[in-house]
């Protein structure tokens, strides 16, 4: 059999009766759907890159993502968990392509086995993502206005966090914070981490328009209350994340959420496909093209994750 379409009776390849692109309608349309989805994802990821590289400060991924369930719930294992998630997703892509390969051999039993592995991989990935979401949520990041304010108020009100050193320690243990040099109005500031900032800086009252409580800026840059009065850092009742940190949170939850929704849809589609294969519908049809089409979608989800991994976790 040739990979090229034979043009019978001198007809044109586009005049119908043959597959002009060498694939069935369903498969070609799946490819074009994935192309449109690639544009959507690249718009989001490009926006992320745009904000990332046009900001003077940005949360450091190995500081943000360093917890691991059970073994290191409070951090210390940077990027290990997300490395594991990536491996799980690539492995589920492997079992998916093996299911497609088994389908070409019309081996119903192997298709079922590999599809089950793929579903387990997808579900595990989603569980990992749920853990990571919940972890970052508890650190005060979210798409909208974070509930960080309330949490800090609670923590500081319970008597554990008082005084300047405690406030600084509290910031340090938030993990999102990381030492950076930043430039404000042409002046360079060392902020965060082990380095002490070189001074305090007053920002206008409009910086905290909604607050009538003493506020410590997340970068440790401004100590003030909502009326624009200078306050002692230890008297702060709220810590606000920096603009870049909040931007990071918004982009992280939106983009990984959009990707996670794709994974979730993929798992649902895989379960439907599995029931069809178990019932013997593919064997009855005589071909397993449906497995191939679902496989294309599943690999695409993996493909997007490869980019998400690089942009959010490595760069």
């Amino acid at each position: 059999m040739s990979t090229e379409i034979t043009i019978e009776n001198g007809g044109n390849v586009w005049d119908g009766r043959r597959l002009a692109l060498g694939a069935t309608y369903g498969k070609v349309m799946m490819w074009f759907f994935l192309l449109s989805d690639a544009f959507t994802f690249s718009a989001f990821l490009t926006a992320y890159g745009f904000f990332r590289f046009s900001s003077t400060t940005w949360p450091s991924p190995e500081v943000v993502f360093q917890s691991f369930p059970i073994f290191a719930p409070h951090g210390g294992w940077p990027l290990v968990f997300v490395g594991l998630m990536t491996f799980i997703l690539i492995a589920s892509s492997l079992t998916m392509v093996l299911a497609v390969e088994a389908g070409h051999r019309k081996d119903n039993k192997s298709v079922v086995r590999y599809l089950v592995f793929t579903i387990i991989g997808g579900a595990t990935f989603l569980s990992c993502q749920a853990y990571e979401w919940s972890h970052l949520l508890h650190q005060g990041l979210w798409i909208g206005i974070s509930n960080n304010d309330f949490q800090v108020t609670e923590e500081m009100a319970d008597g554990e966090h008082h005084g300047g050193e405690d406030a600084k320690e509290w910031i340090a243990t938030r993990r999102i914070f990381y030492p950076v040099k930043t430039v404000i109005d042409g002046e360079e500031w060392n902020i965060g981490g082990e380095e002490k900032h070189e001074g305090t800086r007053m920002l206008g009252p409009d910086y905290f328009p909604k607050s009538d409580k003493p506020v410590l800026d997340y970068n440790g840059v401004a100590y003030m209350n909502g009326h624009g009065d200078y306050i002692n850092p230890g008297d702060a009742e709220m810590v606000l994340p920096s603009g870049e940190t909040m931007m990071f949170g918004k982009l992280f939850f939106f983009i990984t959420g959009f990707h996670g929704f794709h994974v979730f849809s993929g798992v649902v589609i895989l379960v439907i496909l599995l029931t069809m294969v178990v019932k013997g519908m593919m064997a009855k049809r005589g071909h397993y093209e449906m497995v191939e089409k679902v496989g294309l979608y599943w690999h695409f989800v993996d493909l997007v994750w490869v980019f998400v991994f690089t942009l959010f976790y490595l760069i």
Binding site: M1, S2, T3, E4, I5, T6, G16, R17, R18, L19, A20, L21, G22, A23, T24, W31, F32, L35, A38, F39, S42, A43, T46, G49, F50, F53, S54, P61, E62, P78, L79, G83, T86, F87, I90, A91, S93, L94, V97, L98, V100, E101, H104, G286, H287, E289, E292, G295, L296, H299, F300, D302, L303, V306, F307, F309, T310, Y313, L314, I315
Partner: protein
Amino acid sequence: MSDSPHDMVHDGAYEAEAYGLHVPHSSKKEILTVFVVLAVLTGIEFVLAFAMHPSVARTIIFLVLTIFKAAGIVLYFMHMKHELKRLMYSVLLPLIFIVYLVALLIIETQG
């Protein structure tokens, strides 16, 4: 004989096979090789995230490795390598718009 191309497909037969087409697929060995390469590239990225300080060079290395991984997935896992060139170009060429967008943003953010 009907005009509909679907009428040419026998009931229960794989449409592509009924048209006398080679159904693209990768061998098991090829699949496993690609998987190992993907895992190793991810491992290298993981190590570089700690071994190198953030820099333009590191970012470029990450992006190149990422594009290699993406190509591995598209060409082998999604069997694009074995599809007709026509389909391949129909899907891959429009991606040039993404390159254009990224190039524009890189130029503009240098400002």
